[in-house]
């Protein structure tokens, strides 16, 4: 029923496209076996099933609550939903009848505290036991506290500057490569992200299933200038760099440094800061919009290389704001996606990652870490690279 619901186009669910292009129908064979009849092979299907949108929902609750199911969730985990006071808190309680290992915590209350300083103060005074996220600028300070612990872990989120490859001067691969050589990514990772980022050596983050290390463009302004000369770009060429504000860790600050890096190799860079909804609309307008270079983050929520690459680099697809189109990449992506053998699939995706790195439709920057702050005594909280925090093994020791 959970999958019939998401596959039904009349329900207009936002993750319909994660399953509908691939699943033809779902059959129940017996009490513990379900068969997915596929329209076409999908090597990363198990990753799609492990996505939050693939979670099983109680059929009784779907019948009872219908479209209000999101406010009254009933799933299959070790906690039960108790209440949701809009804008104030969500409370979960231990599910005593859970089929697996029972949760150690009796109750979990989650509250939004939007102001970063107030959130950290609430942790430091003991009003709350855990906060997320901890800004990179506060991690070292919190680590010095004897009452607190900061748990830092990598994510599979990559931050990059997207390049509209159909717009001059970016339609020349030498220019795109020059942009990569012009940016000091290590300085950005070390000084702006305070060391809580890894310089990109691939279009995807290392923890993404199917990641392949290609190479990083080292910081080489002279090489950048040489490539720009070869491409016929004159010093003083005006370009625009767009960035959101507060959407990603230190996004605006990163863009400001990149502005100065690109200025140093001869561009005149106009930096525009955007509010998120307007920014997203402009990017989705693609050809109709005037963007050229834009800061963006990407996190494949299935944690699979197919999702990280296919929607971004296949001709004409959703997240392909670069307007990148390469028949070789398209062919490789389709082959890789449908390949059931894991080894062959990896080899195909390795080729795609190398091709994308060479073609540079992005200024590849870094993958970022995430940090939670917890009171000493709180144990077993799990943080996942897809920016999820789970509490199935969490406990609070007094």
């Amino acid at each position: 029923m959970s999958f019939e619901r998401i596959l039904n186009p009349d329900n207009k669910l936002s993750r319909h496209s994660l399953f509908a292009p691939y699943i033809d129908k779902v059959e129940v064979r017996d009490a513990s076996t379900v068969v997915f009849r596929m329209k076409k092979p999908l090597g990363s299907f198990l990753n799609h099933l492990s996505h939050i949108a693939g979670a099983i929902i109680s059929p009784a609750s779907l019948k009872k609550f219908g479209k209000d199911i999101a406010r009254n969730p009933v799933g299959t985990g070790p906690f039960m939903f108790k209440e949701w006071v809009s804008g104030d808190h969500v409370t979960l309680v231990k599910h005593a009848g859970y089929w697996g290992e029972k949760a150690k915590l009796d109750e979990l209350v989650m509250r939004p505290i939007p102001e970063g300083s107030a959130r950290l103060l609430a942790l430091e005074t003991g009003e709350v036991d855990l906060v997320y996220p901890v800004p990179v600028t506060d991690i070292e300070r919190l680590k010095k506290s004897s009452d607190l612990e900061v748990v830092v872990g990598p994510t599979n989120r990559v931050i990059f500057i997207g390049i509209k490859t159909t717009k001059k001067p970016y339609d020349d691969v030498r220019v795109r490569q020059a942009l990569n050589y012009a940016v000091d990514k290590k300085a950005l990772a070390d000084k702006i992200l305070m060391g809580y980022a890894r310089v990109a050596d691939s279009p995807v983050a290392p923890l993404t299933t199917g990641y392949s290390k290609t190479y990083s463009y080292d910081f080489n302004p002279e090489k950048a200038k040489q490539l720009l000369r070869e491409a016929g770009i004159v010093p003083g060429t005006k370009i625009d760099l767009w960035t959101p504000q507060g959407r990603y860790p230190m996004d605006r600050q990163v863009a400001e440094v990149i502005q100065s890096n690109l200025t140093a190799v001869g561009f005149e860079v106009n930096l525009q800061r955007w509010e998120w909804a307007a920014y997203n609309k402009e990017l989705r307008a693609k050809e109709k919009s005037n963007y050229g270079l834009y800061l963006l983050g990407s996190l494949p929520s299935t944690n699979d290389v197919n999702q990280a690459l296919y929607n971004h680099f296949y001709t004409g697809l959703a997240d392909n704001f670069y307007l990148y189109s390469n028949p070789t990449a398209d062919k490789l992506l389709l082959e890789a996606q449908a390949e059931p053998n894991a080894g062959k699939r990896k080899a195909l995706f390795d080729q795609v990652q190398k091709l994308i790195t060479d073609e540079a439709p992005r200024i590849f920057l870094f993958s970022v870490d995430q940090a939670i702050g917890i009171r000493k005594g709180v144990k077993g909280v799990r943080i996942w690279p897809i920016e999820l925090i789970t509490f199935e093994t969490a406990d609070k020791v007094q």
């Binding site: 496209s17 804008g87 104030d88 609430a122 959703a318």
Partner: protein, 306 residues
């Protein structure tokens, strides 16, 4: 008086019509829409179109307005595009919190501002007057969110007397109310002072003193009452403005009030929430203004409405 009140209430209808049209146009003209605010990575054009259709955003703009206003007249303020709950349910959760914060803040504002103004006026040009006005200047000059964070550091961290964030108990309201009260009391203090000074210079005050009345009767019974009219106006306007939600303070202290909710809704382009909230806020502002005007007649018997 009754005719005056009815005339004012009738004016509410065209006022709200105008407000609804202006806010509808403004919020639809902002770049971005609810779909682009909410939709995540990997969303196809079909996903976006499906979401737009589900949210009723594919209808022509004028039809969307007619539908919205028609529903409002029937008491249906629509559903949040983000949560699917009715706007009234969302506001019902937050309204008591904002009302509580407003009342406490206005009380703090009056309790700090009016005595400071009286003290300054009765000891004009003394060190008390100068100190009081300097503190008032400091209060009005400081960014309110900075003041809030500083008070939080002092009373929640260094002297752990009060909580940092939330709105569960009365203690959670002390710091936000004190912040807003301090910040807004500056205006009240200065206004009270200047209004009192003007009244104290009047002949009838000299007469009252000449009659031998004790100074406290002169100040509180005669001078203050006559000096209060402009102060009531400003307090009333501040009350009305705070009812719309003090968004910075609600964000700093995580108070689940209307102000923060409205700003979040603008960010999400949650059209029904923004449109309906502004309408409700406008209505309450108009009614508060009416109450302020009517209160003049109580404070000053010379004022009568026909």
């Amino acid at each position: 008086m009754v005719r005056y009140v009815l005339q004012r209430l009738l004016l509410v209808v065209p006022t709200l019509l105008g407000v609804s049209l202006v806010v509808f146009l403004m919020v639809h003209l902002i770049p971005g829409d609810p779909v682009t605010a909410i939709i995540g990575e990997g969303a196809t054009e079909q996903d976006i179109a499906a979401m737009r259709s589900r949210l009723g955003l594919d209808a022509p703009l004028h039809l969307q307005y007619v539908r919205f206003f028609g529903n409002v007249v029937r008491g249906d303020f629509g559903k949040s595009l983000r949560t699917g709950r009715t706007v009234m349910d969302e506001l019902r959760v937050r309204w008591p919190t904002t009302l509580r914060l407003t009342i406490y803040s206005v009380a703090a504002m009056i309790l700090i501002g009016v005595p400071a103004g009286i003290l300054s006026a009765t000891r004009a040009n003394s060190w008390l007057d100068n100190s009081s006005m300097l503190i008032a200047l400091f209060g009005v000059s400081m960014p309110v969110f900075w003041l809030g964070l500083m008070l939080m550091m002092l009373f929640a961290y260094y002297l752990p007397l009060l909580p940092t964030a939330g709105s569960a108990t009365w203690k959670h309201f002390v710091l936000p109310a004190l912040t807003l009260g301090l910040s807004n009391s500056a205006l009240i203090a200065r206004l009270t002072r200047s209004s009192m000074l003007e009244v104290i210079g009047q002949d009838y005050i000299r007469t009252a003193r000449a009659k031998g009345l004790a100074e406290k009767f002169v100040v509180y019974k005669h001078a203050l009452r006559n000096a209060l009219l402009p102060v009531i106006t400003v307090v009333g306007l501040q009350f009305g403005a705070l009812l719309g939600g003090a968004v910075l303070i609600e964000t700093v202290f995580s108070v689940n009030g209307i102000g923060r909710y409205m700003v979040q809704s603008i960010g999400f382009r949650d059209y029904p929430v923004v449109q309906s909230s502004v309408l409700i806020f406008s209505l309450s502002f108009v009614l508060i203004n009416l109450l302020i005007d009517l209160s003049y007649a109580v404070v000053d018997p010379r004022i009568r409405y026909r």
